[in-house]
């Protein structure tokens, strides 16, 4: 095909691409973004598939069979974890206005400028081979298509100006600059680029699938036919066998999967499209299955193309990396070949555009701006448009990176396959795993650990992969590979510490990551983070707690002149843009810009975030530091903040406790109220009862007195009988009144207690004696069971006798008539004296039992149906026993009689005061 056609087609394609980008930008400006949906997001992630995938996979498949697929299985396996990892990274990046992975790491570890530049340097050195492989792919595909003899042609003595790759480099540089550096504020995103990348993802997929279909159905009859033919050749058959002798080593397989898992998140360009250009964290959800699906489809035809190419070109000197293009050409299908070339071009250009762009943002923010700020080149007093200068800086960086990639390509990239070049970059990027994953989930991971781990990992990588490949390519003359560094056997780059048998990539990944992770952990455990490092760690790890909050400003005490802030923003963001943003800020916070003299810490932070969108967190911090009189927050202030929080927590605890107390008090009050109501009802009942009790004897006294008064001539015998009744009834009244008074005294605490040492046995005997006549009258059998030597207790003899008499007379009263039996028994233990009085009467029904010691509870005599007694006896008894610190209980079931048990504790009664202080009737 003529060179002119190819050039015109390529340029035409690039113009189309630019059109797509322009359209994307325009729509974004109109507020009708075409990139704000999960499908475009997933397609933009497919920038992962570069010339490596497009040409290189086939080449790799011819050598190691299905091993190439690990590079796509890794990201597929990573996809479900995006839900946790990527979403968190996006939320953090948005809240901190992060503009690259270097910025992310630097911001996480205390906005360290050193760490930012270290990550940048690692990224640039690591990615250059990767970019060079794109240059290689584009140039050889161009040469093949225009039949200039393949990639070997320019190897022999041609100058660079005759070299296709050189012109391709220039065109790509121009194109990237046109694309990437029109806007400055990265946080505002490059909608156009994303649209173009998504478009390119479709182009390369369509082109690759077309070749696949062509090979399966054009060259062969069907895929089955293809596999059957391949099965006849042993060399090809072995590509599909995994056992001891064939297939990739277990270690290689696992390591390739692991490093490609890290690549999909941490490659600077992947971080850029997945995190920085992300429009909404929820877009991740759909990408979780859409992106693996894309990878699935683009890999379907790799094996058929590889097998087809091997059978077609067996014995010929055709580089397997070119099969995708050579196959259609071999069958004279020039249009398909052109489509394939365009597809390959799109795979390469998308990678180059995004990668160089991401690297230039990184380098300008983390390397050049801090350098300029330090040398105070832009700290001058006069206003100057720094934003323009930054833009030129970025363009310069893009050119430098592409030139470096070109140099790498002509010096070492030519002899090696695409995939082996790319894997070098993957291992470099894998060095970010410990500090990124640790930074996201481990609050104690700190700057010391991150720096130690990254630098050590990077050095091991550099020694075992790129440096060793320079030696291998003969660029550095050395016996390093065989004899080791400084002749030390343990320092051979492919067998560090004598570990042999692993392939180069796994070997390098193993050692670098092991040392990296170990140092990260050790450094973090022993190093001390700065205050800002601490804050940032907390903000990153617990991002979901803080999103929407203003936590950062609590730890930031900087104040600045508003003029300075405005000037700074004008310089870096451009005059109009920055004024727009400031006006918006003022509107949102109800401020009048003209009246602001001093910018609040919150406003300073806002400015810092705006700046960090352009120049990165570390630089923004430096810059803001130059105008802000920041009183660095010291430990004392942190303690204060913590103290305040703690105090607040204490207050709320106190409040909780108080309200709990209040709740309890209310409950107590309620129950007290209930009791009062009950007692009130009881009182009413008592008055009725007492009145009734008083009225009965008074009525009889009055009627008998009347009879005596009206009949003076009454016979003596009758008169004596009536007088006896009157006396008896009067006694009953006075007894009742005495009891009421007694009870009242005890309740109010005014009772007199006459305490002496006494023998309760004697008290019982005396009580029995007093009731003897009653017992005889009722014909009751009394069993008295008293031990000989009872311990003395301290108590009031008269009152205790009252207790015994009450209990005994109750027992007598309720005994079975004629066959009454009353048992009185006393026992004692070391602690207690126990008196039991039981009868064989009707017993007390369970419903009444709980109330029998309450006042005015009267027993109904089943024989007479009348209520017996005043209802005060047991109540008084209970009070006397309680006074002696004892207890009284009743056991009874209806028909079985009742047993009253009085327990008097010996030790407690000894402690009773010898004499009550008031109303003492001293003997």
């Amino acid at each position: 095909m003529s060179t002119l056609v190819v050039v015109v087609a390529s340029l035409g394609y690039l113009v189309l691409l630019f059109g797509v980008a322009y359209f994307g930008d325009k729509r974004a400006l109109q507020g009708r973004s075409i990139t704000n949906n999960p499908f475009v997001y997933a397609l933009s992630l497919a920038v992962y598939c570069t010339a490596w995938t497009y040409y290189g996979s086939v080449g790799r498949a011819t050598e190691t069979g299905l091993e190439f697929i690990t590079i796509y299985l890794g990201p597929t396996l990573m996809a479900p974890l995006w839900y946790i990892l990527l979403r968190k990274m996006i939320v953090i990046a948005k809240s901190q206005r992060i503009n690259s992975i270097a910025d992310f790491i630097s911001a996480r570890y205390g906005k360290s400028a050193f760490l930012g530049s270290a990550v940048t340097i690692i990224s640039i050195i690591g990615i250059i081979p990767y970019i060079s492989l794109q240059l290689k792919a584009v140039s050889f595909s161009f040469d093949i298509l225009t039949q200039q003899g393949g990639p070997q042609a320019f190897f022999e003595g041609t100058s660079f100006y005759q070299d296709t790759a050189f012109y391709i480099t220039i065109i790509l540089a121009a194109f990237t600059i046109l694309f990437g550096t029109r806007h400055l504020e990265v946080a505002e995103k490059h909608e156009g680029i994303v649209a173009a990348i998504a478009f390119e993802s479709i182009v390369k997929l369509v082109a690759f699938v077309s070749v696949g279909l062509f090979v399966c159905f054009g060259v062969f009859d069907s895929p089955i036919d293809l596999f059957q033919q391949a099965d006849k050749i042993e060399e090809l058959r072995n590509l599909f066998v995994i056992d001891q002798n064939h297939g990739s080593q277990p270690w290689t397989w696992a390591w390739l999967t692991l490093i490609s898992m890290s690549a999909i998140l941490f490659l600077p360009r992947q971080f850029h499209v997945a995190v920085i250009e992300n429009k909404h964290p929820n877009h991740v959800n759909k990408a979780i299955w859409l992106f693996p699906l894309y990878l699935f489809v683009i890999n379907l035809f790799v094996m058929p193309i590889a097998l087809g190419g091997m059978m077609e070109f067996s014995g010929q000197n055709v580089d397997a990396d070119t099969y995708v293009l050579s196959l259609p050409l071999a069958y004279g299908n020039e249009y398909l070949a052109l489509l394939v070339f365009i597809g390959g071009l799109s795979a390469s250009t998308s990678m180059v555009i995004v990668a160089t762009n991401a690297l230039s943002i990184m380098a300008s923010s983390n390397l050049l701006v801090p350098l300029l700020l330090r040398t105070s080149a832009i700290q001058g007093d006069f206003v100057r448009d720094v934003s323009g200068r930054l833009r030129s800086l970025r363009r310069l960086i893009i050119i430098v990176i592409l030139i470096l990639a070109y140099v790498y390509f002509i010096s070492i990239g030519q002899g090696t396959s695409l995939v082996s070049i790319g894997l070098i970059s993957f291992v470099a990027v894998a060095q970010f795993i410990p500090s990124m994953i640790g930074g996201l989930f481990w609050k104690d991971g700190n700057m010391v650990g991150a720096i130690m781990g990254l630098l050590a990992g990077f050095m091991i990588w550099a020694f075992t992969l790129p440096f060793a490949s320079l030696v291998q390519a003969g660029i550095i003359e050395s016996e390093l590979i065989e004899k080791g560094l400084w002749g030390i056997d343990g320092l051979r780059p492919f067998a560090l510490f004598g570990m042999e048998g692993m392939d180069k990539v796994s070997h390098s990944a193993f050692w670098s990551l092991l040392v990296n992770a170990a140092l990260y952990v050790i450094g973090s455990l022993y190093g001390k983070p700065s205050v800002i490092g601490h804050t940032q760690a907390n903000l990153f790890v617990n991002i979901y707690k803080y999103t929407g909050g203003q936590t950062e400003s609590a730890f930031f005490r900087g104040k600045a002149q508003f003029v300075d802030i405005r000037l700074m923003l004008n310089r870096f963001l451009g005059y109009e843009h920055s004024n727009d943003l400031l006006n918006r800020y003022a509107r949102n916070h109800n401020l009048e810009l003209e009246k602001i003299k001093e910018a609040s810490p919150h406003m300073v932070l806002y400015a810092e975030k705006l700046l960090s969108g352009v120049i990165g967190a570390a630089s923004a911090r430096l810059l803001v530091g130059s105008v802000v009189k920041e009183e660095p927050i010291n430990l004392y202030e942190v303690m204060n903040i913590l103290d305040e929080t703690q105090q607040l927590m204490r207050y709320s605890q106190e409040l909780e406790r108080k309200s709990e107390e209040l709740r309890k008090a209310t409950l107590d009050l309620q129950s007290a109220n209930e009791r009062l109501k009950e007692m009130d009802a009881l009182k009413d009942e008592f008055i009725t009862t007492v009145t009734h009790e008083l009225r009965t004897p008074i009525t009889s006294i009055r009627s008998f007195s009347n009879i005596l008064y009206d009949n003076p001539a009454l016979e003596d015998e009758k008169r004596a009988e009536f007088l006896a009744i009157i006396i008896q009834e009067s006694q009953r009244i006075s007894r009742l009144i005495n009891q009421v008074l007694d009870l009242e005294k005890m309740e109010s605490g005014h009772a007199d207690w006459n305490l002496t040492q006494l023998d309760v046995g004697l008290v019982v005997q005396e009580s029995v004696r007093r009731l003897q006549s009653l017992i005889n009258e009722q014909e009751i059998k009394l069993h008295l069971d008293l031990p000989n030597h009872l311990p003395l207790i301290r108590g009031d003899k008269d009152r205790l006798m009252q207790v015994v008499i009450n209990l005994l007379s109750n027992a007598i009263k309720f005994c079975k008539p004629d066959r009454g039996v009353v048992n009185v028994r006393m026992v004692y233990t070391d602690e207690d004296l126990i008196l039991k009085v039981s009868d064989n009467g009707e017993g007390i029904s369970p419903e009444v039992q709980p109330y029998i010691f309450d006042k005015f509870t009267q027993f109904t005599d089943h024989r007479s149906g009348r209520r017996q007694g005043s209802g005060l006896g047991l109540s008084i008894t209970w009070r006397i026993v309680r006074y002696h610190r004892g207890s009284i209980e009743v056991e009874s079931s209806p028909g079985e009689g009742a047993t009253f048990t009085v327990t008097l504790p010996l030790s407690e009664t000894r402690r009773l005061p010898m004499k009550t202080p008031s109303f003492n009737r001293t003997p």
Partner: protein, 74 residues
């Protein structure tokens, strides 16, 4: 809900990370073919597709559910 989805997705990851690696990989790598396609190729792509379906099932069902609950809560 979020926690549950995370757990399910981690589960999918662990399952397929095991299936796609040694020593289980060797089971798929035997000689012979299925429907005219070599064993290894067939099983890796079949597993790959199965994994994508699992992801669709977990992620999309979550979206459908949360969408429904939004409507019902309004």
């Amino acid at each position: 809900m979020r926690q549950k989805t995370s757990a399910k997705l981690i589960g999918v990851f662990l399952l397929f990370a095991t299936l796609f690696n040694y020593p289980i990989l060797q089971i798929w790598g035997s000689e012979g073919s299925l429907l005219g396609i070599p064993h290894l190729l067939f099983s890796i792509f079949a597993l790959w597709l199965a994994m994508i379906l699992c992801l669709v099932f977990v992620v999309e069902r979550r979206i459908v559910k949360s969408g429904k609950s939004k409507i019902s809560s309004q």
